[in-house]
Amino acid sequence: GESVGLHLPTLSVQEGDNSIINCAYSNSASDYFIWYKQESGKGPQFIIDIRSNMDKRQGQRVTVLLNKTVKHLSLQIAATQPGDSAVYFCAETSSGAGSYQLTFGKGTKLSVIP
């Protein structure tokens, strides 16, 4: 399968525990953020997004927190399951005129210990 996990920060979590994956961004003009999950051999899959007018957004078992002051984004996964094992990417973009490119972070590999 795809070995995108090599050379990536790794987070190991016990099954049932909560996971927190962090992401720092540098562009203060970024106002739209997305978290993606990528399993081995597959394309990135949309998890949750957040716009800069929000600090927090919740989905099913996932929460994204945005701290614009320090340009930091986090993804919290509740009750982590073996199926959550994957590489997680944050992505950012600015909705300004002419800007429609997502910039992706390098990713974090989440390993769930059964």
Binding site: E2, S3, H7, I34, P44, T93, Q101, L102, F104
Partner: protein, 112 residues
């Protein structure tokens, strides 16, 4: 089936050959993108398109050509493949510019 599909899934080609990777989406999304994914570099944008007949360069466009004569198709051509173009290529589409992208399953290209 609806969605975004890439073909072929795997491709091995020789240095200097021309190769085209296909991408097709059924949602009539305006925006389409090509990324390559390499160890240590993450996802890097090659080319993107805001609509049919509108394309623009991304971060790493050299050695690649795209076209978009129809909204649903966005082929990526390597005019003369090099070993450095060995990578996994992902196509993505989006309804609007500040909207989550949907990715295809990828094409693993090996240039020997």
């Amino acid at each position: 089936d609806a969605g975004i599909t890439q073909s072929p899934r795997y491709k091995i080609t020789e240095t200097g050959r021309q190769v085209t990777l296909m991408c097709h989406q059924t949602w009539s999304h305006s925006y389409m993108f090509w990324y390559r994914q390499d160890l240590g570099h993450g996802l890097r944008l090659i080319y993107y398109s805001a609509a049919a007949d509108i394309t623009d360069k991304g971060e790493v466009p050299d050695g690649y050509v795209v076209s978009r004569s129809k909204t649903e198709n966005f082929p990526l051509t390597l005019e003369s493949a090099t070993r450095s173009q060995t990578s996994v290529y992902f196509c993505a589409s989006s309804l609007d510019k500040d909207y989550g992208y949907t990715f295809g399953s990828g094409t693993r290209l090996t240039v020997v």
